[in-house]
């Protein structure tokens, strides 16, 4: 019987299997950040063990960093302490760190791919659930807890039961103006926020293959939002072209050798998945969420379900969610007022996202009622945005580019949406309080966010501009 892509990678990394227990899985790449690593370093120090393979771990501060005045010392005492702790730990244990103000600093899931640290066929972990992003390269990448971060530091391995496999195919051509974010919000709205639990998902089909690497990252990034352990996409020419020439990518003969291996990374024709779902690309429209989990999404032009349309068992949660959001069941979304727009995060904080926003707002002006935060995913993205003139276009339209970090995606720093305010956000989670206590989040694509920033209300970007949409 054939093997799935996931099996091929997983099986080749199993060091040992415990009977009726988890597998010991070897980890090729370990990414760390300031929030989920200090207890792990403290743990190995307490045990008196060294970092086993420091060269396989790379660190950067992102969750907790300010997005203005990064050249100054961090004002918040606890944040500063945590970021300094990361620096100390990396220095003491010989781990490469791209610290604040380093040209490679950025959100951990943005810098990995950008620097060629993320490559096909690897096992990649990070103490962060959106590690699934790296699956876009045909790697097995997933988030782990701090105890597991400690395991990787100490032994370069973790212990994990092997998940089941699901394939989600999106077939056909994506309609004009539909982005990767719409695709994944659509998928999650169908599969639900818990429908992927226990599975590792392979995304396939012609619509997925037509996406750029950055679009694929957006899709894999949000696989965790349907509860999946992670998502991955078979590498192809698009992948190889993206990786080639990057700072840490293999070069010369080494490249050729690796490339030959990467070309074997696909699900065999007769491979069997535990579950298969197929969607038609033609059904996908610009999407937005209205509730407090990413599965509560609909077409921008759609409406919130009525109570009758919600399964009986879920009505309590649904009603609670509507109360939090200040919406009524059955409401139309178009035209609802919005206070904040956030473009950024490891879902949509890459250069293509900024390009799309710039293209859309060029020659337009930001609406007066909107506070907009546009935050690049990394220093490199920021630099590119300056070089390409994106920053100028944004400023002309009344926006300002902030400095890289997770920012309002989880509001650990000062970028918090005030209580009761509505934010259209390109990030990945609309949980209660995610963007600040009492904040109300509506997830959407960068283009939809840009359109909202310009009109000040929820709007289908296609209504404003046919021309600029790709």
């Amino acid at each position: 019987m054939g093997k799935t892509l996931f099996d091929k990678i997983w099986d080749s990394h199993v060091v040992a299997t415990i009977e009726e227990g988890p597998s010991v899985l070897y980890i090729d790449r370990h990414l760390i950040h300031e929030v989920t690593s200090p207890q792990a370093f403290a743990g190995i120090e307490k045990r008196g063990v060294e970092v086993f393979r420091p060269q396989n771990t790379v660190a950067t501060p992102d969750h907790n960093v300010p997005t203005i005045d990064q050249h100054l010392s961090i004002k918040d005492e606890l944040s500063r302490f945590q970021v300094n702790k990361l620096t100390e730990n990396c220095e003491r244990h010989g781990v490469t760190l791209f610290g604040l103000n380093h040209p490679y600093q950025g959100i951990v899931h943005v810098i990995g791919p950008q620097l060629g640290l993320t490559r096909p066929g690897m096992t990649i972990v990070c103490g962060d659930s959106h590690t699934s992003t790296h699956g876009a390269f045909g790697s097995v990448a997933f988030g782990i807890g701090t105890s597991e971060v400690e395991m990787v530091l100490a032994t370069q391995c973790i212990m994990q039961p092997k998940p089941k496999k699901m394939r989600i195919s999106v077939e056909g051509e994506l309609p004009k103006g539909i982005s990767a974010k719409d695709v994944v919000l659509y998928i999650i709205s169908k599969v639900t926020a818990s429908g992927g639990t226990g599975y590792f998902v392979e995304f396939a089909g012609s619509a997925i293959r037509s996406l750029s690497m950055e679009g694929r990252m957006t899709v894999c990034n949000m696989s965790i939002e349907m509860g999946a352990r992670g998502g991955l996409i078979a590498p192809d020419q698009t992948t190889f072209d993206y990786v080639k020439g990057r700072e840490y990518a293999p070069k010369g003969a080494e490249w050729e050798k690796e490339l030959a291996k990467w070309k074997e990374l696909y699900s065999d024709e007769d491979a069997v998945f535990d579950k298969e779902i197929v969607f038609d690309a033609a059904d996908i429209e610009p999407m937005i969420t209205y509730g407090t989990n990413p599965g509560m999404g609909t077409k921008v032009k759609g409406r919130i379900p009525t109570l009758d349309e919600v399964p009986e068992k879920e009505r309590n949660s649904f009603t609670k969610s509507m109360k939090y959001m200040g919406f009524n069941p059955g409401d139309e979304l178009i035209g609802k007022p919005v206070d904040y727009v956030f473009v950024g995060s490891c879902t949509n904080g890459r250069i293509e996202d900024l390009r799309e926003v710039a293209k859309f707002v060029k020659g337009r002006k930001k609406a007066d009622n909107i506070t907009a935060w546009i935050v690049p995913g990394s220093k490199q993205v920021e630099q590119q945005a300056i070089e390409e003139g994106i920053v100028d276009i944004l400023e002309e339209a009344g926006f300002k580019l902030r400095q890289p970090g997770c920012s309002a995606c989880l509001a650990m720093n000062d970028d918090k949406i005030p209580s009761g305010k509505y934010a259209v956000s390109t990030s990945n989670r609309n949980f209660e309080g995610r963007q600040g206590p009492g904040s109300r989040t509506l997830l959407a694509s960068p283009v939809t966010a840009a359109a909202v920033a310009v009109t000040g209300t929820i709007v289908d970007p296609r209504e404003i501009s046919e021309l600029e949409l790709v």
Partner: protein
């Protein structure tokens, strides 16, 4: 570091009949700035437990004097969202030893097991039975026995068995953790690396 041993507990329970409780509710991000594992219980369910003026919200279960105990009974899909182990630390640090639900998010479940917090998966029907029992008598007792893998409603005798893989069970019963295991097979790991080179 060894984890706390778990064998059997008998306790009343705290009901949280809400579905899709995500880790941002369990422990909001702004409380993740600590660099040690202790003290997260204080901010468990922070934004449900306290209002914006830091006054306890009276009708939230953790503030309701009728409810107490070492068992948290939660609605379907508990612990979704972020991988923050701080969520498991917070639940455990608050004093819970067991979380019962009809569905757990994968990462939360793994994190709990790594910290001596036992996730007990029961059917939706049985979960309803537990909620109904607590509603009838907030002091109702439940017995969780890891050895026999059973969860019992003491007053009615109604029992459900739950799954746990035998390796994890051994770890919990003996207070072992995965890192000890991995450190013991380092030779094997080095040999694996050599075989790939």
């Amino acid at each position: 570091m060894a984890i706390e041993k778990f064998t059997k507990i008998t306790s009343s329970a705290v009901p949280l009949p809400i579905e899709n409780v995500d880790t941002d509710q369990i422990i909001p991000a702004r409380f993740l700035k600590a660099t040690t594992r202790e003290g997260f219980g204080e901010n468990l369910f922070r934004d449900w437990r306290y209002d914006s003026n830091n006054k306890p919200v009276e009708d939230f279960v953790l503030n309701d004097p009728r409810y107490s105990g070492k068992i948290l009974v939660a609605g379907k899909n508990f612990g979704s969202g972020s991988s923050r182990e701080h969520a498991a630390w917070a639940v455990h640090d608050y004093g819970f030893k067991v979380v019962v639900s009809s569905f757990f998010a994968d990462i939360f479940r793994g994190n709990s097991l790594n910290n001596g917090l036992l996730p007990v998966l029961v059917t939706e029907e049985f979960l309803e039975e537990i909620f109904a029992e607590i509603e009838k008598d907030p002091k109702a007792e439940f017995e969780v026995d890891l050895k026999s893998q059973t969860f019992k409603i003491v007053s009615t005798g109604s029992t459900a068995s739950f799954e746990i893989n035998s390796y994890k069970k051994e770890c919990l019963l003996n207070g072992f953790d995965d890192i000890d295991y991995l450190l013991n097979i380092k030779d094997k790991i080095t040999a694996f690396e050599a075989s790939r080179a």
